[in-house]
């Protein structure tokens, strides 16, 4: 197997769309107005109308627009181009079939406030997806409303708040409320941010030298008596399955708390193990990770919440329910849920993502879902084995769907994780997740997913080994990488000191 490096190729320079604009160009045509025109002053008094004539907004022809966005698109790495091994992001293949499904006019042109009896197909999609997610997680209560992972997480911890208050009779008794949310030091930053927004005080649990939640530390923290719950990722952010998960959940439950699981890493578990069977009370899923709805350059996501029957009354409203076969309304939106945490978003969630996720589940079938999990873990193991001799691995436990290495050996030569990541770009790969989890110095978290063949995995392993060799023999090449991109490393510190966050007309002359 030879290592192929990326080569530089033709990339057009392209200014900002504002700099391309020419007065008088048009990229649209509307049908002529077909009603009698009313004088503008009669419609709206002048003081309510715009005065700036939308100055500065671009004026472009249709080919201008197509060329502009096509050109800038070529500056992006993407899944269809190759391995995109961002740990905890699950950058798997995004099927074109699912895109087609989401664009069926009967769904895309359906207004969210259409009467329920005229939107039965959409409600059926949501109801069916809820059922399948309940089966996959082993948690029967499902809401599809949260719009992203962090949003689902917020919903989940708010449900814990509401459930505890209902149980303990502390809904209106701020002083008596359980306040402490336990979060491992390896957790994603959204976990403490969501807990804080839900009124919890965050206490951090240590990890063991094996990369697992420290049970003794957990017991100590639980002994305080004020524990509301635990937020746990499993497999955790080190890519390791928390083998004491049942005991962890039992300890928290005995202390009177509830367990929230961050479902970011569900791609390691689908069809193999279910959070509901582990003792988890509520979980969010990332449809854009595990169920392959496109990442879209950073959203839209979708973060459904799945919970136990006991927590179901606290799910957001409205719920999508099946009300039997009477008349033309089998599926309905149910609002009368007095214990619900309320709404977390207008309407019913990112329905377009629900369609894609259901299409993913039905295309795979139950066997295919498990097959994908096996293939994802196998691919991560393949990389872990391939790199074991070259890079330092902080933990001995076998990885699940992602593997964790550090720059410990390379940093002795002055080459750090960031440099290795940038150098990977020259080999044609998107870098892995770097410097996360925070508990591991110089972390490199690699998640290949199931969507990559072994030849490409081997190329990645070879590239990493080659970079390790370069770090010793030719460190400068690594330290100054990337060498093949249209721009080099950008001065992010300077950008943050004097932020320029928008284009202004005055910059036209000064611009590139």
């Amino acid at each position: 197997m030879t290592i192929t490096k990326a080569a530089t190729h033709v990339t057009q320079n392209e200014a900002l769309v504002f700099e391309r604009s020419q007065t008088g160009r048009r990229g649209y045509r509307l049908p002529a107005l077909d009603v009698e025109e009313t004088a503008l002053d009669e419609l709206l008094p002048a003081e309510l109308r715009r005065e700036d004539d939308l100055e500065g907004v671009p004026e472009l022809s249709e080919p201008d627009v197509v060329r502009h966005f096509t050109r800038i698109s070529t500056w992006n790495y993407n899944i269809d181009l190759g391995l995109y091994p961002l740990g905890s992001c699950t950058m798997k293949y995004n099927s074109r079939l699912n895109e087609r499904v989401a664009r069926i006019p009967g769904f895309a042109a359906l207004h969210p406030l259409a009467p329920e009896e005229d939107a039965q197909g959409a409600l059926e999609v949501m109801y069916e997806l809820q059922r399948h997610l309940a089966e996959i997680t082993g948690l029967p209560g499902v809401s599809l409303q949260p719009a992203a992972g962090a949003h689902g997480e917020l919903t989940g911890v708010m449900m814990i708040r509401a459930a505890l208050d209902a149980r303990d009779g502390t809904s209106s008794d701020e002083a008596q409320r359980r306040k402490v949310m336990l979060i491992p030091d390896s957790a994603h930053g959204t976990n403490p941010a969501s807990a804080h927004l839900s009124g919890f005080t965050v206490k951090t649990i240590r990890s063991t030298p094996e990369g697992l939640t420290d049970l003794d530390n957990l017991r100590e923290l639980c002994a305080s008596g004020d524990v509301a719950g635990l937020m746990l990722t499993n497999p955790n952010t080190c890519g390791i399955f928390e083998r004491n998960i049942k005991e962890i959940c039992a300890v928290v439950h005995e202390a009177g708390g509830l367990v929230y699981m961050d479902g970011a890493n569900m791609n390691a578990l689908v069809g193999v193990a279910r959070p509901g069977d582990m003792g988890v009370d509520v979980i969010h899923l990332n449809l854009h990770k595990t169920f392959s709805t496109p990442h879209g350059g950073g959203g839209p996501g979708s973060g459904p919440c799945c919970c136990t029957a006991e927590l179901e009354p606290f799910l957001p409203v409205p719920r999508v329910t099946s009300g039997g076969e009477t008349g033309d309304t089998r599926f309905a939106l149910e609002y009368d849920r007095p214990q619900s945490v309320g709404r977390v978003k207008a309407f019913y969630g990112n329905f377009g993502m629900h369609l894609r996720a259901l299409a993913y589940i039905l295309t795979h079938g139950n066997e295919g879902l498990r097959e994908a999990t096996e293939a994802a873990v196998l691919n991560a193991r393949f990389i872990a084995a391939g790199l074991a001799d070259t890079f330092d691995s902080p933990f001995d436990s076998p990885p699940m769907h992602e593997c964790l290495f550090t720059d410990k050996r390379q940093s002795r030569k002055g080459v750090h994780t960031l440099d290795i990541a940038k150098r990977l770009i020259d080999y044609g790969f998107h870098p892995m997740t770097i410097y996360f989890p925070l508990i591991v110095s110089g972390a490199m978290l690699i998640e290949p997913t199931e969507s990559v063949g072994r030849a490409e995995l081997q190329q990645f392993v070879d590239a990493m080994k080659e970079i390790a060799r370069e770090a010793v023999e030719d460190a400068d090449t690594v330290l100054n990488a990337p060498h093949t991109t249209r721009i080099g490393r950008l001065d992010e510190a300077a950008a943050a000191r004097k932020p320029v966050l928008r284009w202004r007309p005055a910059e036209r002359a000064a611009g590139a």
């Binding site: 879209g296 063949g453 932020p499």
Partner: protein, 446 residues
């Protein structure tokens, strides 16, 4: 499974290479008592053609998607130029992720920077972020930001803000120590009534929507002075982004934070999502803004590029002290909105807005002339308005749908049981005169 490149035979070889006898052994670190010992009870795999048939059959049950409709209230049917969908389906855009590595994400980053600029232009503000989940969560984040800026805990919200937006804010502030109060409503004009006496030193912000939920254009400027005199922030909510093409920008009216639903900019109604929240504010509050921000940066050679910046506000660094728990934005939808604003351009945005207003004015005149129907509010409108029917609105609209195949608007009783006869009608540039006439004729006959 056709999405998995390695064949079963290849996977067997890989397992052997790792010294494993079977795929089950990959999961040896999971204790046996939590391993699922049966197949998932989800359906067996469907082929491509079978799958499409299933979804087409479900889509066919959505009768409302096929009818001319006059529904707005936070989601609007507008024309979207064809190139939007074709461009956002480029692999480089839709299969990329958050631009963590700027050297190979310049397309996404430049598009975000352009989006931020366009949002500033639309809203008349200085700074905008890379987007929020939608308009409703953007409003909730604005409420939280007002508390951070002013260190005050009371926020007064207009009763003419979208009821679902209000519900979302209530959820978000439930544990944030913020109290949501209500402003008054003038039943004659259909506008928010602000009693300056209510504005004391405890008020962090006043939130008004314009055009408001009932379609009336608020006199935003008239609120600004009183709000600022009390040391509070003025938050303006816009659910119909097409109105930016005609109405005075919230920035020009004195807003401190502007949040909007951007769905009108080329995004399908798609039963409520995914949409895109716009969030803009004044320069001085840039470091209090939630969510992602792209900014200009230069490399060693002095070449201009773009990076995510001011990350010290964000959860991955600040953890529980972050300005928000939001982790991403609505990237692809923000891109669609960017392409929409660029394609329609300065003149197209104005023409769409003008056509919406003209057609709504036509429909409003026709409906008001119907016997027994009236217009309860006197304030100027953009493209939505309330018409009061002589009988129960929900029943009337049901008959209109079944007998005349028109979705005639929204029965306001859905949100306001005390308004049984009111219909919220929305007209956009996509509603043909013939559709409007059919709506009017249908209501005359029912």
């Amino acid at each position: 499974m056709r999405y998995i490149p390695n064949s079963p035979e290849e996977r067997q070889e890989m397992l052997r290479g790792l010294g494993l006898g079977s795929a089950e052994e990959l999961f040896d670190s999971i204790p046996p008592d939590v391993v699922l010992k049966r197949a998932l009870d989800t359906p067996a795999a469907l082929s491509e053609s079978e799958l499409l048939e299933r979804f087409e059959a479900m889509a066919a049950k959505n009768a409302a998607a096929r009818r001319p409709n006059f529904l707005g209230a936070g989601a609007y049917t507008h024309y979207a130029p064809t190139i939007i969908d074709s461009l956002i389906q480029r692999s480089e855009f839709f299969t990329a992720y958050t631009p963590y590595q700027p050297e190979i994400s310049q397309g996404t980053l430049q598009a975000i920077f352009e989006f931020q600029t366009l949002v500033c232009q639309m809203t008349g503000m200085d700074v905008a972020n890379a987007s929020m989940y939608d308009g409703s969560t953007a409003m909730a984040e604005a409420v939280l930001m007002a508390e951070r800026v002013t260190r005050r805990q009371r926020v007064l919200v207009s009763p003419a803000v979208h009821p679902e937006y209000m519900r979302v804010s209530e959820t978000y502030v439930a544990h944030a120590g913020i109290e949501l109060g209500r402003l008054g409503f003038d039943e004659e004009s259909g506008r928010t009534a602000l009693d300056p006496a209510a504005l004391d030193k405890t008020v962090a912000a006043v939130v008004v929507q314009s055009p408001n939920f009932f379609g009336c254009v608020e006199d935003v400027k008239s609120f600004a002075d009183a709000v600022h005199a009390a040391g509070a922030l003025l938050v303006v909510v816009v659910t119909e982004a097409a109105s930016f093409g005609l109405l005075r920008s919230p920035g020009a009216c004195g807003a401190d934070i502007v949040v909007a639903e951007g769905q009108s900019f080329g995004v399908p109604v798609s039963f409520g999502g995914p949409y895109v929240g716009l969030f803009a504010t004044r320069e001085k509050y840039a470091r209090q803004i939630p969510g992602r921000l792209a900014g200009i940066a230069y490399d060693k050679e002095g070449r201009r590029g773009f990076v995510l910046t001011l990350a010290t506000r964000e959860q991955h660094i600040r953890r529980e002290k972050a300005t928000s728990n939001i982790c991403t934005n609505e990237g692809l939808i923000a891109l669609a909105a960017t392409i929409y604003m660029t394609t329609m351009g300065r003149r197209g945005l104005q023409e769409v807005a003008a056509q919406c207003a003209q057609k709504a004015a036509y429909a409003r005149r026709q409906l008001a002339a119907l016997e027994g129907f009236s217009l309860p509010y006197s304030a100027p409108v953009f493209n939505e308005f309330v018409v009061r029917a002589p009988s129960d609105a929900a029943g009337l609209l049901r008959k209109l749908a079944t007998e005349h195949d028109v979705t005639g608007g929204l029965a306001l009783s859905r949100y306001f049981p005390e308004r049984p006869n009111d219909i919220l009608v929305c007209v956009t540039e996509t509603n043909k005169r013939a559709d409007i006439d059919a709506l009017v004729a249908g209501l005359r006959q029912t």
